[in-house]
Symmetry: C2
Subunit: 123 residues, 2 copies
Amino acid sequence: MVQFTATRPIFVQISELIGVRIMTGAYPPGSKLASVRDLATELGVNPNTVQRALVDLEAQGLITTHRTIGRTVTEDESAIADGRQLLVKQRVQDFVESLRPFNYRPDDLCDILRTCMKEEEAT
Amino acid sequence: MVQFTATRPIFVQISELIGVRIMTGAYPPGSKLASVRDLATELGVNPNTVQRALVDLEAQGLITTHRTIGRTVTEDESAIADGRQLLVKQRVQDFVESLRPFNYRPDDLCDILRTCMKEEEAT
DNA sequence: ATTATTGTATTAGGTGCTTAATACAATAGG
DNA sequence: CCTATTGTATTAAGCACCTAATACAATAAT
């Protein structure tokens, strides 16, 4: 069972969750994903919601669907690497953009970031 | 007219938009806000949606409501400073958390951040 | 060939967000 | 006192997301 945020659609969060696992290697290229029904149970959501997330991931080229076998992580490692790079870049950009009105200097923001990472590390 | 993201409720985005303007001093302490109806027109949304955002901001202690005069930014500058610190901290934490699975070293993440800020600056 | 497992599609109902159209309440300002 | 302006409340409608229950389609495994 996973905790979801109320502010964003669950299927998007699931898509990102699995996408990140693929991009970090937790789900290796070619490995088999659990079935829609199993994932739904595991995540504590409706199968339809999982289905939407998986359609998303397939559209991104991160997974492949085999009619009755199930789904597997793509073998195309460059697609995975590209996805990872894009996602990280997007998150960094969004972060920078969200703090833009505060006019931080790069050095100061880096300091804040380092401090936060040290604290998180301690967790 | 402002551009809103589809993924989060508009009233939340408006609340943040005005909140940030207060925290950055764009809306100084004690200054008068536009009326609900004017803000709705200006932002291109329904008055009810603006109303929800403003109720939010009042709950945060950032604005005060005067029955028929309208609303003003709080005079309590420490409340504003506290809000700013909390918001920035939250955003940094969320950012760090969102990239946690990728296991970046602080130095590397700082480099990525700096690069992104330089590019953004050029805009 | 049969069966169980897989993905897929459909229908219905509930909830929250947003808009629209009103109406009411309170009071500053003339 | 009157009036315009302010905040506030209500009702109805549409839409997206999510759940639930069910059914169908395809095929690997037996």
